[in-house]
C-alpha cells in the first residue's frame, strides 16, 4: 500500500519539504522510466529513489498514487496587473500548485500588457511576495502594447528573463510583423508563441461552426479561421528559417484537426515548430453548449464521425452556459480526437491549460456576451486523466506532455525530473481518488467553470516546487 508521511500545514507553504513515500507509481519523463518505487525527500532534496521489483512491487500499479515531475504550464492568464478581481499572481500560483504545476508561463495580456522589463520585474516581485514556490515564467508581449503595430522591446524583455513572446488573446495579425518577431526572437534564442486566429473569419463568432451552432442559432466560428492562420504562420516560419535558423514558432491552443495536420507536416519537414492543446479541447466539445456532458470520445460513432446529441438524448444541462464560451471555441468530437491523436504521435508537444479566469460580472451573462475563457489550471490534470482512463492516452505520454514536452517547447528550461540528489520538483496525485471542483476546493478567483460540481479523476495530494511545499491536500486519502 502507498504511504505518504510527513505532516504539514497550510502555513508551511514555501517551506522546505521532508517526505517519505513508499510504494507509489513513479513516472520520470526525463528518463522515460516508470514503475513502482519509494522516494525520500529531505530538506527539499530527493535523497533516495528506490525502484521496486519482484515481491516488493506486488500490488502497486499506475492506477493508484502516482508521483511525477512537476508540471509546466505553457499558457496561463494570471490577470495581474489590471484585473485582480479575476485572479492575482498569488491566487493563480496557488491554483497552479493545486493543479500539480510547479512552473507557469504567464501570458502578457494584462492591463497594461507586459511589454517592458520593469513590468516583468514587478510580476516576479509579486510572485516572490506571494510566498508560492511555483516558478513564474513570464511571457513578454510580441508587439508594443499588444497593438500589433510594432515590435515590443524584445531584447529588453529577454534580458529581464522572459521565456518567449506572444500577443496571446490576439494573433499577430500583420504577417510582416510576425516575420520580424520570429527573426528577432530567434536571434534572442526565444520562441514566438502565436495564437492562431484569422480575425476576419471570427468577427462576432460565438461557437464552433457546426450542428450545435446552427441549431442553437449561435454565430459560427469556422475551423478554417484557425487552420488558415496556422498555415500562414508555418509558411512564414519556413522563410524566416532560411535567414535565422534559430527562429522558433510555438502555436498555442490548437483546436482543429486541420491545424494538427498542418503542424504534423511542418514537423515532418523539419521546421522549428511546436504546439500545445488544452485539456478542454481534448475532453469537451461544442455539444456541451447544447447541454451535453459526455466526454469528446463518447461523442464519436463507430465510423469516427461526431454523434448527434439530440438523437442520442444526452442533453442533460441547460444550454448556453457562459462558462463554456472560450477562444478558440469548443470544437467537434472529430477535432478533439485529432488533438488526442496528435498528442499520441508527438505532433502535439504539450498540454497547456490556457487558464483564463474571469469574474462573475464578465461570465454570468448572455452566452454571446460572456468573456471567452475557462479557468482550468486546477482541472487540467483531471481532464487529461479522464482521457487516460478511457484508454486514449498512455499515462507516461500524458505526463510528458505536461512536463518535458512544454519544457522542450520553451527551449532553455528543463524540469529537474525524479533524480537522486536533485531539488525535489514533483507532484503526487491519487488516480483512484475522485474529487469535486467547486467553490470549496478551487483556489482560483475565476468564477464558475463547466466542470464545477462534476466529479473528476485524480486528486492532487501534494505539489513540491523547487524543494518547497506548493500545495498539500487538506484531507489526504
Amino acid at each position: 500500500m502507498t504511504a505518504v508521511t510527513g505532516s504539514r500545514a497550510a502555513s508551511d507553504i514555501g517551506r522546505a519539504v521532508d517526505l517519505d513515500l513508499s510504494g507509489a507509481w513513479l513516472v520520470d519523463p526525463a528518463t522515460r522510466r516508470q514503475g513502482p518505487g519509494d522516494l525520500v525527500v529531505r530538506d527539499g532534496r530527493v535523497v533516495s529513489i528506490a525502484w521496486l521489483e519482484g515481491d516488493e512491487a506486488n500490488g502497486i500499479d499506475a492506477r493508484g498514487v502516482v508521483v511525477a515531475s512537476g508540471f509546466v504550464d505553457l499558457h496561463a492568464h494570471l490577470r495581474e496587473p489590471g484585473n485582480e478581481a479575476a485572479e492575482t499572481i498569488a491566487s493563480g500560483l496557488a491554483a497552479a500548485a493545486h493543479g500539480g504545476f510547479t512552473a507557469v508561463c504567464a501570458m502578457p495580456n494584462t492591463t497594461p500588457p507586459i511589454d517592458r522589463a520593469a513590468m516583468v520585474d514587478a510580476a516576479r516581485a509579486a510572485a516572490v511576495v506571494s510566498g508560492s514556490p511555483v516558478r513564474l515564467l513570464q511571457v513578454g508581449a510580441a508587439t508594443a502594447g499588444r497593438a500589433g503595430e510594432q515590435l515590443a522591446a524584445l531584447g529588453e524583455l529577454a534580458d529581464a528573463g522572459v521565456v518567449g513572446f506572444s500577443d496571446d488573446g490576439s494573433p499577430i495579425q500583420r504577417p510582416d510583423l510576425l516575420r520580424n518577431a520570429l527573426a528577432y526572437a530567434g536571434m534572442l534564442g526565444l520562441p514566438v508563441i502565436d495564437h492562431p486566429e484569422d480575425l476576419d473569419q471570427t468577427s462576432g463568432a460565438e461557437a464552433n461552426d457546426g450542428l450545435v451552432a446552427t441549431v442553437l442559432g449561435l454565430r459560427g466560428w469556422p475551423a478554417a479561421a484557425e487552420a488558415s492562420a496556422v498555415a500562414r504562420d508555418i509558411e512564414i516560419l519556413v522563410e524566416v528559417g532560411h535567414d535565422v535558423p534559430a527562429a522558433r514558432l510555438h502555436l498555442t491552443h490548437l483546436s482543429t484537426a486541420a491545424s494538427i495536420e498542418h503542424v504534423r507536416h511542418a514537423k515532418a519537414a523539419g521546421l522549428a515548430v511546436t504546439c500545445d492543446v488544452t485539456p478542454h479541447h481534448l475532453a469537451l466539445t461544442d455539444e456541451w453548449i447544447a447541454g451535453s456532458r459526455r466526454w469528446s470520445w463518447q461523442a464519436l460513432d463507430d465510423a469516427g464521425r461526431s454523434r448527434d446529441p439530440w438523437r442520442d438524448g444526452v442533453l442533460e444541462a441547460e444550454p448556453y452556459d457562459g462558462s463554456l464560451r472560450v477562444n478558440p471555441p469548443l470544437r467537434s468530437a472529430v477535432d478533439a480526437r485529432a488533438c488526442l491523436e496528435g498528442l499520441r504521435d508527438g505532433t502535439v508537444d504539450a498540454i497547456a491549460s490556457d487558464h483564463a479566469p474571469h469574474t462573475q460580472v464578465d461570465k454570468d451573462v448572455e452566452f454571446g456576451l460572456a468573456r471567452p475563457g475557462i479557468a482550468g489550471i486546477e482541472t487540467a490534470l483531471g481532464l487529461v486523466l479522464e482521457a487516460v482512463d478511457a484508454g486514449l492516452l498512455p499515462l507516461d505520454r500524458a505526463i510528458e506532455a505536461l512536463t518535458t514536452g512544454p519544457a522542450r517547447a520553451l527551449g532553455r528550461f528543463s524540469p529537474p525530473g525524479l533524480v537522486e540528489g536533485a531539488v525535489a520538483d514533483l507532484v503526487v496525485f491519487d488516480r483512484a481518488a475522485r474529487w469535486m471542483p467547486d467553490a470549496g476546493s478551487l483556489l482560483t478567483r475565476g468564477w464558475g467553470g463547466p466542470l464545477r460540481g462534476r466529479s473528476l479523476a485524480g486528486r492532487v495530494l501534494l505539489t513540491i516546487a523547487g524543494g518547497r511545499l506548493a500545495f498539500e491536500d487538506a484531507a489526504p486519502a
Binding site: A213, G217, W310, D312, Y320, E366, L369
Partner: protein, 344 residues
C-alpha cells in the same frame, strides 16, 4: 391555477382535464423554444388558442384568468408588433402589464441582464416576456427567475410563439386541420432566422414536408442539420432551387431580409435577391392552387415578397397577426398554470 380557464364560458379546461394524468399535459414553467414540446403539448397550445380565439371574438374580449398577475414585456430589441401582441394578449387575460424597453445592450448600461431580471421580479413580475438580440439570453434569465419566462425572440435562435401561431394559422386552412405530408416552404434568410428554427421543430413535429430555400450564403449550416435531422430524426430538405422548392407547395413562408446582409458580403444586392428569391405571383404559380402565403412580418414588400402576393387572396399575413394574440394568451395561461401551482 386551472380555475384560470374554467372561467372561460363554453370552453373546456384543457389544463384541468389532463392534469389528472401522468405526466402532466403541460409541464413547462417557461416557454423558451418549441424544441422541448411534444406533439400532444403542441396540440394543447393550439386547442387552448381556439378557446382564447372565442374570447377575442367577443365584443368585449376579457377573461379574468391572469387577474392580479404581473406580466412584464422586457424588450432589448425594438419590436412593436410582437410587444403589442403580447401586451394585448396579457390584457385580454386581465394581467397587469408593464412594458420595459431597453435600448443598447445591458453591458453598455452597466446593468447585467440578471440584475434587471431581479429588479423586475422584485417589482412583481410573475411572467417575463423577453426579446433579446443574443441567442440563448432567456435561458440565463429562466435559470434564476422565480416565475415564468416566455421567449419573444432571442437572436437567431428561437421565436416559439411565432412558430406556434404559424402552425395554428396553417392548420385552420388545411383539410382535416392536419399538416401531415403537406409541403411547407420557408423561403429567404434562414441563417439569421429564429422564426425558421422554431418552425423547424413544430412543422416537422406536425409531420409536414419542410423545405428550406434561400441563397446558399443564407443557408450556412443547414445542410448539416438536414443530414442529422431535427432532434436527430425528423428530416427536412434544404435547397437554393426556388422552383423545386415551390413546386406543389401547400404553404410558403417568406422571411424578412435585412439590409445589413449586403454589408456583410452575404448577398450582392437587394435587387438581385428580389429577382432570384422574391416570392412573386409568377413563382407562387408553381405551388398548389390556393397555396397559403405567410410572413412573420414586418414585410419588405418588393424584396422578399411582391406587394400583390403580400396582400393577395392567398395571403394569411393579417390572420397570422390576429392568431398571434390567441396563441400568446394560450401560452401565458399554460406557463402560469405551472408557475402559480409551484408558488402555491
Amino acid at each position: 391555477m386551472s380555475s384560470t380557464l374554467t372561467e372561460l364560458d363554453g370552453g373546456a379546461d384543457p389544463v384541468a382535464e389532463s392534469s389528472s394524468e401522468r405526466p402532466p399535459a403541460w409541464p413547462h414553467r417557461h416557454l423558451l423554444d418549441t424544441d422541448v414540446l411534444t406533439w400532444p403539448q403542441i396540440e394543447l397550445v393550439l386547442d387552448t388558442a381556439d378557446v382564447m380565439a372565442q374570447i377575442v371574438a367577443r365584443r368585449r374580449p376579457r377573461s379574468e384568468a391572469l387577474r392580479g398577475i404581473g406580466v412584464t414585456n422586457l424588450f432589448y430589441e425594438a419590436s412593436t408588433r410582437t410587444r403589442v401582441s403580447f401586451e394585448v394578449a396579457a390584457k385580454h387575460l386581465s394581467a397587469d402589464v408593464v412594458n420595459v424597453s431597453v435600448t443598447g445592450s445591458s453591458i453598455e448600461k452597466g446593468e447585467s441582464l440578471l440584475d434587471t431580471m431581479r429588479t423586475l421580479e422584485s417589482l412583481g413580475a410573475r411572467v417575463l416576456v423577453m426579446r433579446h438580440a443574443t441567442s440563448g439570453a432567456p435561458y440565463l434569465v429562466a435559470r434564476d427567475f422565480r416565475g415564468s419566462v416566455v421567449n419573444a425572440g432571442d437572436g437567431r435562435h428561437a421565436h416559439p410563439t411565432q412558430a406556434l401561431l404559424d402552425l395554428y394559422t396553417l392548420r385552420r386552412h388545411l383539410p382535416g386541420a392536419s399538416l401531415r405530408g403537406r409541403k411547407v416552404v420557408i423561403l429567404g434568410d434562414v441563417l439569421h432566422s429564429r422564426v425558421a428554427r422554431s418552425n423547424l421543430w413544430t412543422l416537422t413535429a406536425a409531420g409536414a414536408d419542410v423545405w428550406l430555400c434561400g441563397p446558399s450564403t443564407l443557408l450556412r449550416g443547414f445542410e448539416g442539420w438536414a443530414a442529422a435531422g431535427v432532434g436527430g430524426e425528423r428530416r427536412f430538405t434544404v435547397t437554393s432551387d426556388v422552383a423545386a422548392a415551390l413546386r406543389d407547395a401547400d404553404a410558403v413562408m417568406a422571411l424578412r431580409l435585412q439590409q445589413e446582409r449586403m454589408a456583410a458580403g452575404l448577398l450582392p444586392s437587394l435587387h438581385e435577391y428580389a429577382a432570384r428569391f422574391g416570392l412573386t405571383a409568377e413563382r407562387l404559380g408553381l405551388a398548389r392552387e390556393g397555396c397559403l402565403v405567410l410572413h412573420p412580418g414586418p414585410m419588405n414588400e418588393g424584396v422578399e415578397i411582391a406587394p400583390e402576393v403580400a396582400t393577395g387572396a392567398q395571403s394569411r399575413v393579417t390572420e397570422q397577426v390576429a392568431n398571434g394574440v390567441a396563441i400568446r394568451m394560450a401560452v401565458l395561461s399554460l406557463v402560469t398554470s405551472v408557475s402559480l401551482r409551484d408558488e402555491a
